[in-house]
Amino acid sequence: MLTVDDLTASYGPVTALDGVSFEAPRGEITAVLGANGAGKTTLLRTVSGLIRPTRGTARLGEHDLTSVPTERMAELGLAHVPEGRGVITELTVEENLRLGALGRGRRGPADLDRAYALFPILAERRGRSAHVLSGGERQMLVIARALLAAPSVLLLDEPSLGLAPRIVAQIFDLLRSLVESDGLTVLLVEQNARSALSIADRGVVLNLGRVVVRDTAAALAGDDALRHAYLGF
């Protein structure tokens, strides 16, 4: 379980996160929703140590992640798929995947094969530069790479951005099945609240860096006033 408590972070004088608290229980997908600039990406970046908070904690098991260097997150079981630019385009598809597998427990070729079985299109492109991949293929690559590190917590930033609805559905189905079969904990940041709530168990709505509401996904989707005010559907 990932427990965020009173997390506060700022860019210079601008407070981007203001006392954010919530829990992302094990084996569930927690959606982080809100408009542009609500602090969703900052939240993920603060949890994985790319931004240091001015106050508050993010706990994973007995570790307070706010004092763990980013390069040790993978060892602790935290994988972060940042928005858009996660693929290292100068490397081949296979090298990107190998990089993910270098993390915890040095996973071998069998694990790579499992990733290829999950995403056959990556197997076809394995020797090619990741630069040639389409947007959907890149998203598959970063998710496959994150999974190769055998995370217990997966932070996903806008996995649906710029993708065809069919591919989004495919990726979300996969997430759902991983959460149910492996007990993976997912923190999913999405602009597209409707589709995020359709697979999430619960949601946290942010506005201007503060938590507006935390509830189950069904309750959030059913609250018309909230949907109109913050979620845009």
Binding site: L50, R72, A74, P82, R85, I88, E90, E95, L99
Partner: protein, 292 residues
Amino acid sequence: MQQLITTVLTGLTLGAVYAAFALALVLIWRATRIVNFAQAPMAMITTYIALVLIDAGMSYWVGFAAALVSGLVLGALVERFVIRHLTGKSEINAVILTLGLFIVIHALAALIFGARYRSFPAPFGLRGFQVGDTTIALTGFGVFTILSVVGVMVLLVLLFRGTDVGLRMRASAFNQEMARLLGVRVGRMLTLGWALAAVVGSLSGLLIAGGGLVHPSYMDGVVVYGFVAAVLGGLDSPPGAVAGGVILGLSLSLVSGYVGSELVPLASLVILMAVLLVRPGGLFAQVRERRV
């Protein structure tokens, strides 16, 4: 015909040395986006370490190995204790800092070893091989120069393409943030990159010194040629650096042989300008998407 062969052979040997120096610049550029102006004095001072050992009666190879090892250590120290502090600062800071290191190392070498010319031995013959009854412009040391640079190139390719450490180093060079998130100790990889680059730089220092004279400034002229070679091949590409070195060596040797040796520095700058005008990414630039 004989002059052409002579020019080409001289050019190849010279090109191998430029290639090694360019390779050192490229390794650092790739890892940290810094042009290491201090590469020449770093190589110079490690060559002096070899010279001190050789003068003390040890074999050439002990000195050779000591120079490479001290290059490794020096490169790592410079990255860890000087360059590391530049993280997040403006690029001009790096330029000033490596130029500052250039001056400091220079001055130190003059203080410690004296600012005079000293001869440096070569492990192989410096007389051209005999083919029939003519002597060609390829010496035993020249062959050693070419082979050692090719060897270094092969080792680097094997390291970068074939090992996990090499993969981590490349990931750190291309995308530090993502490498960190994937558990790569980026700081260590950068230190290692500088250390390896300094080893290759030291090798170029030893190759230039072999059978000639060393002086605190004996490497300074090579900076220009090494830099042109690196730009020629594309600052990002180690094979490009080697190809750039060889092409530059050959071109300058042709200029020297057929036009006049006084035009060599000018020719190198003309080549630099031509490359920057026509193919600013270098001869071996790949078309890459721009990172925004």
